[in-house]
């Protein structure tokens, strides 16, 4: 995608991004203009990194929603008063340390997957996107995405079994 093509697309989708920001305004302190700008910058960064963007509009809207959700969560964290009643059970320092270890193990295990497998797993597991949404975003066939995710999950499971 060239700079000119990107600018044309950006102009076209900007109103939709502003609408996303306004929709989230009641729950998240989001300035629609700032959010739209940030979403477009992130889209441009993905384009520059040769991310396979097939549907720029769908991708930009997804980015915009993620930004709004991220800001909403930050607001929740700030507003939560710090009292002894707020500490939930089972999340002491040891547990958090173990969680960090698991994160490192996950990083190592995911290192054996292909970039596409990691991307699709991220979209599926972390972003909770359906196969149809991933297909729409990436422009790849749904069957191909399904088989890629399946292969990745089975590969990780086999790795776990052989480590035992």
């Amino acid at each position: 995608m060239t700079t000119e093509e990107y600018e044309l697309i950006a102009q076209k989708i900007r109103p939709k991004l502003l609408a996303v920001g306004r929709n989230f305004a009641p729950v998240a302190p989001t300035d629609a203009e700032d959010m739209a700008q940030e979403a477009l910058i992130r889209l441009w960064e993905m384009v520059r990194q040769d991310y396979p963007v097939r549907d720029a509009e769908a991708l930009a809207v997804r980015i915009a929603k993620n930004i709004c959700i991220s800001r909403y969560r930050k607001t929740q964290q700030k507003e939560q008063p710090l009292t002894h009643d707020n500490y939930s059970g089972g999340t002491d320092a040891t547990t958090l340390t173990n969680a960090e270890d698991i994160r490192k193990i996950k990083h190592l295990a995911y290192g054996t997957l292909t970039r596409t497998q990691r991307e699709y797993l991220h979209l599926r597991n972390d972003e909770e996107m359906t196969l149809d949404e991933i297909a729409q975003m990436t422009g790849k066939p749904k069957t191909s995405i399904k088989s890629t995710i399946s292969a990745a999950r089975r590969q990780l499971l086999n790795m776990i079994k052989t480590e035992l």
Binding site: D92, A99, I102, A109, D126, I145, I149, R153, L156
Partner: protein, 80 residues
């Protein structure tokens, strides 16, 4: 309503999960079960560990596992 306490239901879900054929809602139920159930059958343990590795790191699902399960996952996966 998914009866996740039924082992046959779990087996069917696990099979579809590995085929990437489960919906996000079904996966949520499955993940919740394996992260928060202390009594996992031995034949389900590898899958439980897969789920714990995939989801217990503070991502969007924000699952938190208890210390024993975290220790179990860490100790078995001590990478050589």
């Amino acid at each position: 309503m998914i009866n996740i306490s039924d082992k046959d239901v779990r087996k069917e879900l696990v099979s579809r999960y590995l085929d990437a054929g489960t919906t996000p809602d079904e996966e949520r139920v499955l993940v919740d079960h394996y992260l928060n159930n202390d009594n996992v059958d031995s034949d389900e343990l590898p899958f439980a560990r897969l789920i714990r590795m995939e989801y217990a790191d503070g991502n969007k699902k924000t699952y938190i596992m208890n210390r024993d399960k975290a220790m179990d996952t860490v100790s078995f996966m001590a990478i050589n």
